[in-house]
Symmetry: C2
Subunit: 198 residues, 2 copies
């Protein structure tokens, strides 16, 4: 008589949901989200399409998980900064610095987030959370202006968008390397808060 | 007897090559280059596909014309700045300011350029010209550092990329309006050269 069957494993050993997500995010960035199919993902993982569906319900769920991983990092940083007992200018500087660190540590996830243009519900939700984060940064610029920490002649919303534009541009040309996040964060904050002029 | 035939007009009246290009660029930005067909373009223009081919040889030619229009503007600005008899810091500031103006005036064309990821020859060529422009900006930062105009503690290449990252981010959130280019250029150069700190 054959031994009793082992409980069936979900997916192939070594391919948990996190691994599926990491590979999906790499493919989204290489080929674009629209051009990546669940079949492509299965091939890249060396498993069957139905094994992929053991781990995730849909390609859209993977997009949701990817953008949430990026956005959660940014909102955690904003939460930590809010609790600091320092002037608004320093909170703003800390938040920009931490945004660079999040971008560096969750590079592929933030890259997916920044390419979202927004047709589906998942994409619309991601864009709404990005706007919410922009608004937090704008609010900090306003507070810092009120406290006299930020120059009064810049529009807070424009300043926030230029700051985040500079940070987000890292996905276009920066490649994370061990220990590199701190030095790129130094360069961003030096330029943003003190300017290039000697 | 019928009068001699007039020489046949190319395309429909009012649809010259510039109009075809402008509509193509709008569609590329709305739908993505890959998802825009010559048929879509004909529909948007209200002409036939073969009328489109009176004006342009291919979709790829339209992409080439679009990215060249953006890049030519940037290189013209660089050429003008090179001829100025001022310190390198001021040349750099002028080039960043003029890049903002070019981006504002050729907004849709620069947006197409910045979304090019580069598989085809046209795209590779556009990316090579972008790198060439980045190198010009890096060179100006280096010269300005040598002259003592730019702080010595930033890497020139990183500074150039952050400057252009900030400028290029405008395609994501800025919408050109009459007279708006100068004030956004002021905000960019204020932040980049003197920083946000009061």
């Amino acid at each position: 008589m054959a031994p009793p069957a082992e409980p069936r494993r979900r997916g192939r050993p070594g391919h948990d949901q996190a691994a599926v997500l990491a590979t999906a995010v790499r493919l989204f960035n290489e080929r674009g989200y629209d051009k990546t199919s669940v079949y492509d993902l299965a091939v890249a993982l060396g498993i069957t399409k139905s094994s992929v569906y053991h781990h995730v319900a849909s390609k859209e769920q993977l997009l949701q998980m990817a953008v949430d991983r990026a956005l959660d990092g940014l909102f955690e940083a904003a939460g930590e900064v809010r609790g600091l007992d320092v002037p608004a200018l320093e909170k703003l500087e800390q938040l920009i610095r931490r945004s660079v660190i999040v971008l560096s540590e969750r590079f592929e996830y933030v890259t997916v987030l920044l390419r979202v243009r927004g047709n589906t519900e998942v994409e619309q939700h991601a864009l709404a959370r990005r706007r919410e984060f922009d608004a937090l940064v704008t609010e900090l610029v306003k507070q810092a202006q009120a406290e006299g920490g930020v120059r009064p002649d810049v529009d807070p919303r424009t300043a926030a968008r230029l700051l985040l534009g500079m940070v987000n541009s890292l996905t276009e040309w920066y490649r994370p390397r061990p220990g590199g996040a701190e030095s790129i964060a130094d360069a961003v904050t030096a330029l943003a808060f003190d300017g290039l002029r000697a």
